[in-house]
Symmetry: C2
Subunit: 378 residues, 2 copies
């Protein structure tokens, strides 16, 4: 029995309304997952996340492995109990962080040796080791260990890497099957399609990954510094290489215009640090686009962050107050801005799902993007 | 008609149960006021404070004057609206900060010229000017401008300063009466008894301040670095120099043993940054005393911060998790610890009031302090 089912397909686009159920928790897709790198979505309590409408988050295997470490997570009975989160958790494979955060690494067929960004200690991640770590974390969805190919990469490098990731995928699945969940919970395993910007490699990766067989499929190696058009190019043809009945996850893409584009191509799941990181830096996202509330121009502005938003921050606090909090380096600034941004993403995904339900996704996306000026700072 | 009334007097001690009503908001005393220096109790939203049981906070005139500045507070319609706080606000006079934070100041009969700690700009505070600032802030309770005598000070210095503060008190009251509240709200004015550690000066200050006549009376110039015994000495005789029917406020004293001691001498109101500052530094306060949760010894401790506490932090999060958050420099650490500490103070003050109500304050205080090991770190 599959954990995912498509409830409805949009008539004009590839958008789908779906439902994922793991460990008794049902969530609707398309969904956006806020990122809780170190076992916390920065500044927000579990209570805040629930209030904002979040039902699935991402946490980072690489970070949790280094800090607090698996002994502490295991002692708590898994990450859910550790962080008091009763909804879903997806853990990434650490692949992206090993290549982007550690200042030294050595990759071979076996896996990757890297030096931790926290304390300089050396560690080795293999496909098997990562499965064991995610098993100890006890996430609802585990990602296989992959190499996230940098941009730009030569065809030769991408080809070798993509093929090695496929061999890793087989090893991951095999080892995953041999593990028992320590908390009596279910854990899904997702494969990751790599291939860089090369269509034939993406195709190879998709076909072979699907052959191995996973509960869901991710498109990896995008949003690694390449131009927007390149991301969209990949998203244009990869989803249709994946099974109709499995969930599809576009890793690390968080700009709302890209999300709306990708939903129309049949992507179901998204994650990105964008809304939470922007918030901590004083920028909130509204129906009209980005608004850098810490700017002096909002000194006397008694309007809410987003005049169309009904979150508790927008109902109770003004731009003038939140700008003051940022200006005075008050922690509450990051709290309020983060809450709003998460709530805003949840609202948009809700609007996305309703539009698909009502067969008007194309019109919805067009209308939304007409008002939403993407990266433009108000 | 007075805004304060004593509801009940404890039979064995000087403790009183009272009620203060300003602008339609009633609070019970003895009460502890968390400090919201810059128009926010650090890390906590107004919603958090209400949930923790807070009904009166202190905000700092000196800080608000410098940042965000009176134009922004005035534009928002006063501090209550600015920070979304519908309960009571007491503003201090800036006296303490002018002497402790600014790196240059010059005091004369007229007032104090000082250099702001924020941007080095020069400003002058006079008794009249401070009344105007507090009027613009729109607090429910305004404190008169005083000189907070440092410890130690010579008798000569203390005498001159105490007498000048008395002259300032007269000017403050006169100017206060001439001001109209810009928001149509009521504002009480409290006098401050100074005199340093000299009993005759304290007596003079109390008598003369009471003669001028204020809505409430504060004991100032304590908790400025002097030994605990000196604080207690002052608290032992000053309250009885003040009118029975007015509220009495001991400024800046926040250790719970000192608060319990002072309640027994007839003090009604307290404020201190202690619980919030300790929390941000990784120390929480429990029924057993202080607990430095960021310590390594709590790595695997699955107990709540305080096993006797029913706040949402203690119900949902473990020491192990909160220690990890501190260790990983996560903002949520400060949030959760601060919430607990504030909630804990509110719980203790609630227990204090119930004990007075039930004529068992002395027993309560003894029992509480038997388990509570004050400054001892568990």
């Amino acid at each position: 029995m599959s954990n995912f089912r498509v409830l409805k397909r949009d008539k004009k686009t590839g958008a789908r309304l779906g439902e994922l159920e793991v460990n008794g928790v049902k969530i609707k897709t398309p969904a956006f997952m806020p990122v809780g790198t170190q076992g916390t979505v920065k500044t927000q309590s579990a209570e805040n996340l629930l209030q904002a409408g979040v039902d699935i988050i991402v946490s980072n295997t690489y970070h949790l492995f280094l800090r607090p470490g698996m002994d502490i997570i295991s002692n708590a009975g898994g990450l859910h109990k550790f962080m008091n989160w009763n909804k879903l958790i997806l853990t990434d494979s650490g692949g992206f962080q090993v290549f982007s955060l550690s200042d030294l690494r050595n990759i071979d067929e076996e896996g990757v040796v890297f030096r931790a960004h926290t304390d300089g200690s050396y560690h080795k991640f293999t496909p098997e080791k990562v499965m064991e770590i995610e098993n100890t974390i006890g996430s609802d969805i585990a990602m296989m260990f992959d190499e996230c190919i940098p941009y730009p990469s030569s065809y030769g490098y991408a080809e070798n890497s993509t093929k090695r990731t496929l061999r890793w995928a087989k090893r991951a699945k095999k080892h995953f099957r041999s593990l028992e969940n320590p908390y009596g919970r279910e854990q899904l395993l997702f494969g990751i399609v790599q291939g860089g910007i090369y269509e034939d490699l993406r195709k190879l990766s998709a076909e072979e990954t699907v052959k191995i067989g996973f509960d869901g499929y991710a498109i990896g190696g995008v949003a690694v510094g390449e131009p927007k058009s390149v991301i969209r190019d990949v998203v244009s043809y990869v989803p249709e290489l994946l099974p109709e009945d499995n969930i599809r996850y576009l890793m690390g893409v968080g700009h709302l215009d890209d999300i709306l584009f990708s939903v129309a191509r049949g992507v179901d799941l998204f994650d990105c640090v964008l809304p939470t990181r922007l918030a901590r830096n004083g920028t909130v996202i509204t129906h009209k686009g980005k608004l850098t509330v810490k700017n002096g121009k909002y000194k006397f502005d008694l309007r809410p962050l987003d005049e169309q938003c009904d979150c508790f921050v927008c109902k109770n606090y003004t731009r003038s107050y939140i700008r003051h909090l940022f200006n005075a380096s008050e922690i509450l600034a990051a709290n309020l801005a983060t809450y709003h941004n998460i709530h805003f993403y949840m609202t948009v995904m809700n609007e996305v799902r309703r539009a698909i339900e009502e067969n008007r996704y194309e019109e919805f996306a067009k209308e939304f993007l007409k008002n939403f000026e993407g990266d433009k700072i108000e």
